[in-house]
């Protein structure tokens, strides 16, 4: 029999080295997350996955599970804070969902619905971010970037290309591409790259493929994000 910890009172088995997130997912329990992706090394930056482990807040995607650990996740307190984080992400960028091709497939939008976010609450920052339409096949709309670094990790660790990276600091942190011109068309990026598939929001978009699936029939329209756990 493997070791276990409890998550909201439920006993969750885990193997040595597994994080709380990995074990929970395996057991079919959903914990909100944005920068975590099962295929990549955890980053621990969005903090949506924060839980209380033995009374202390920690990111469940980076925290290793330990036998006997008591973890709380679905509490009103934690969900209220997660909701505030989604609000922060919304006001930090420019997210106009109705005109976004990713609407309905977007993890940020779906997570906000899941957490019952009714308004952005905070004042919008309205940052001025240019779109990069230089690449023949792919559009980069930085207005929606949540700095999760999934494209960075995918390009570096899977594609072996380092097309993307984060630069700047603090609120000026932003995504850059691997070209002196700063343009995607001057990199070796291709639509076949893993990095082209991982963006949880609507930054990295395939050109000339608009509204192939009508709104109302998109992934999270059919299945709310809370029900998308692979392990069930």
């Amino acid at each position: 029999m493997s070791q276990t910890f409890t998550l909201d009172g439920k006993s969750i088995p885990f193997e040595d080295g597994q994080t709380i997130m990995q074990a929970a997912t395996k057991a079919g329990v959903f914990i909100p997350h944005l920068c975590y992706h099962p295929e990549f090394k955890p980053h621990g930056s969005c903090k949506l996955c924060t839980v209380k482990a033995n009374g202390r807040q920690t990111a469940s995607c980076t925290m290793r599970a330990m036998a006997g650990m008591v973890v709380e996740s679905e509490t009103e307190e934690i969900n209220a804070e997660r909701r505030a984080l989604t609000q922060m992400l919304f006001v930090e960028g420019n997210h106009f969902c109705p005109s976004c091709e990713k609407s309905g497939h977007c993890q940020l939008q779906a997570t906000a619905y899941h957490l019952g976010m009714m308004s952005p609450h905070f004042d919008h920052f309205f940052p001025n971010r240019a779109v990069d339409a230089s690449h023949p096949e792919v559009l980069l709309d930085f207005n929606r970037c949540i700095l999760c670094s999934l494209c960075v990790r995918a390009s570096r660790d899977v594609d072996g290309k380092n097309v993307f990276a984060l630069s700047g600091r603090g609120i000026k942190t932003h995504l850059i591409v691997n070209a002196k011109s700063g343009k995607l068309s001057d990199t070796d990026f291709s639509l076949a790259d893993k990095a082209a598939q991982v963006c949880p929001v609507g930054v990295i978009l395939t050109k000339r493929k608009g509204f192939a699936v009508p709104i109302g029939e998109r992934s999270y329209d059919k299945q709310p994000i809370g029900e998308t756990v692979e392990g069930r």
């Binding site: 621990g44 969005c46 505030a84 004042d123 700095l147 700047g168 609120i171 850059i176 691997n178 002196k180």
Partner: protein, 631 residues
């Protein structure tokens, strides 16, 4: 030098890269030296680094973009940064900056049209006892006055090279006001090491194993374990803020298993970024042997062969003098191979400079920076003692902690433990600045009261003291009998004094701006939260504050405390909460509105239009009353 030839830039890059053995972990040092030669980091330099270091452009630009002192756009031949700590503000830095800008015909933050000079602000440069201060091409200039500003404008206009500026500008005083065991130490280089070597294991406290300097040291040498016992006996706790027990940290590193090809490292944290702190500057100026010897004692204890001093970029002026001390110590056989004749006792120290990033004082961010990366705090566990520099066991300690280790090696743990209080052994150096007659360094045994310090430095009419900087505590007069120490008010050293004429709201607002500027941006709550907090404080400052905004601040605090990735986010709301609790009237003055009011102010938004049209008459202003709203 903005129009340098491609070949010239490549030549500079090649020279620098070769000196750093083409080692990408030295990226921060390479970028610094390239900038020192080119005045900025031109794209051609990045082209060349990409080739010679064999790393992708994204990586180089990612690092260069993180640090405030690296410029990937031309910033002029003279890059002037005014220190913008609250003490600089109190000494009139903003007026001086305006004076310089007017004098040079430039706007703050912009480069002059001829590309000669830029003027901007930067976080506290650690010269609070002799401010207002600035950095010119990263060289500290202290004791600014209107007259000095006018002279500087003249020097810049005449393109006088920095080397020819009056030496007096760059003079940095120690201002030691009250020495105790550390600041009056007469230790001769090597004394502490020899004392450590002589130590024999005693009974009682016995370290958990007998691993010596290196795994390969002759057996029977009890010194390292015995020395560790002394550190434990001394009850030494870290001086960088968190107060972790030094003996335990060293022991954990000493006992951490080594993978093949791995080794242990000693890192001295001289990032000293907390606004109001400047004691590490003085220790490294006049007590460098005490610090380096402490690092060597630590290396002896844990079995390390390499050490780093991570020196904040603001202390660039200390680089050459410190390298000279290291060179002398090598000659004296106090660094290098077989130190003081101990076979296999090899240890050396390298200095890495930071480049304007407070977060690099956080130990795991510091290690990332040492590895040539963006200074982002790591996920922990694992901790540096097992997985530090290049994933190898590493201790990180503050400058003062290492200096104390030297004293303990020399005089023993019992001697040290007898000084101070039960839970806070030894002395603490306070960096005193703000409203007092004699700013500077004051060393006290732990347990000294705030009142005593105020008396000693000649402070009167004191309204508040910010202990340990913005991330510390704001202490009001009814608490002046409280004491410095881990039992009561722990501190990393800052002691900033505010008299009754100061607006404590503006103090808090300055600190909030600091945190917003220094957030590394890695995690959502701090990256966005510090900006939201800054906007709220600015809203209050602009007279649009209401009780609603107080509630928002409380909510943000809760969120930053529970969700942030590191200490910066955890403490970013401290200055606000403390001052709200203790200096409520200062806030009420700014809480003009009874009910919620938007931060947006139409009249203020029209300022740009007024500037462009050169109008400032009454008709160019929106008068709120006209709308029949708030009176």
């Amino acid at each position: 030098m903005t129009d340098m030839h491609v070949e010239a830039v490549a030549g500079i890059v090649d020279r620098v890269v070769a000196r750093y053995r083409r080692d990408p972990t030295c990226m921060v040092q390479i970028l610094r030296e390239v900038q020192e030669a080119c005045d900025w980091i031109p794209p051609e330099a990045i082209d060349r680094m990409q080739v010679t270091l064999g790393v992708p452009r994204t990586k180089i630009e990612g690092v260069a973009g993180f640090y405030s002192f690296f410029y990937t756009q031309p910033r002029g031949k003279y890059r002037i940064l005014f220190s913008d700590n609250i003490t600089d503000r109190m000494q009139g830095n903003l007026a001086l900056m305006e004076r310089l800008c007017n004098n040079l015909w430039i706007e703050p933050g912009k480069v002059s049209e001829d590309g000669l000079v830029s003027v901007d602000k930067t976080s506290c440069t650690g010269m609070c006892d002799q401010g207002p201060a600035m950095l010119v091409n990263n060289r500290a200039v202290t004791r600014l006055t209107a007259a000095r500003i006018d002279e500087i404008a003249e020097l810049v206009r005449n393109k006088t090279s920095l080397a020819e500026w009056p030496a007096d500008y760059f003079k940095v005083e120690d201002n030691i006001r009250k020495p105790d065991i550390m600041l009056s130490s007469q230790m001769q280089p090597g004394d502490a090491l020899r004392a450590a070597r002589e130590r024999v294991p005693s009974d009682g406290l016995m370290s958990s194993n007998m691993r010596s300097w290196r795994e390969g040291l002759p057996s029977g040498l009890g010194g390292p374990a015995a020395m560790l016992d002394e550190i434990k006996r001394a009850n030494l706790r870290g001086r960088g803020g968190a107060g972790f027990t030094t003996g335990l940290k060293w022991e954990a590193c000493r006992n951490a298993p080594l993978k093949a090809g791995h080794q242990r490292f000693v890192v001295c944290n001289a990032d000293e970024g907390e606004p109001g702190t400047f004691k590490d500057r003085v220790l490294l100026t006049s007590y460098a042997d005490l610090v380096f010897e402490g690092m060597t004692v630590a290396a002896y204890v844990i079995g390390a062969r390499r050490g780093f001093l991570y020196l904040r970029g603001e202390y660039r002026h200390l680089l050459e003098p410190l390298n000279a001390v290291l060179e002398r110590r090598r000659k004296e056989n106090l660094l290098g191979p077989n130190i003081i004749g101990i076979p296999g006792g090899d240890f050396d120290i390298e200095i890495h400079l930071g480049a304007g990033a407070y977060i690099c004082g956080e130990e795991s961010a510091l290690i990332e920076s040492l590895e040539g990366k963006r200074g982002t705090p790591r996920n922990r566990p694992p901790f540096p003692v097992t997985n530090g520099y290049l994933d190898q066991p590493t201790i990180v300690n503050n400058v003062e902690t290492f200096a104390a280790a030297s004293l303990i090696a020399l005089n023993g743990g019992e001697w040290y433990a007898a000084i101070g209080t039960k839970h806070s052994a030894g002395t603490k150096i306070l960096s005193v600045s703000g409203d007092c007659e004699r700013p500077g360094l004051y060393e006290y045994p732990f347990g000294v009261s705030i009142r005593q310090v105020l008396e000693d430095c000649g402070a009167s009419d004191t309204q508040a003291v910010q202990v340990s900087g913005p991330s510390g505590f704001c202490v009001a007069p009814d608490e002046f009998d409280r004491t410095i120490g881990f039992e009561d008010i722990p501190t990393a050293g800052a002691f900033t004094i505010f008299n009754n004429t100061r607006d404590m709201f503006e103090v808090a607002r300055n600190y909030v701006h600091f945190f917003q500027h220094e957030s590394c941006g890695f995690c959502t709550p701090c990256r966005v939260g510090t900006s939201l907090l800054k906007n709220l404080m600015d809203k209050l400052h602009n007279g649009c504050g209401s009780p609603y905004d107080f509630a928002e601040i409380e909510k943000l605090n809760q969120l930053l405390q529970s969700m942030s990735h590191c200490g910066l986010g955890h403490t970013a709301c401290n200055p606000v909460l403390d001052t709200i609790a203790k200096f409520r009237p200062a806030y009420e003055k700014h809480m003009v509105q009874q009910d919620f009011a938007p931060a947006f102010d139409l009249d203020r938004a029209l300022a740009a239009a007024r500037q462009m049209t050169g109008r400032d008459d009454a008709a160019a202003h929106i008068i709120k009353e006209e709308f029949g709203e708030d009176a």
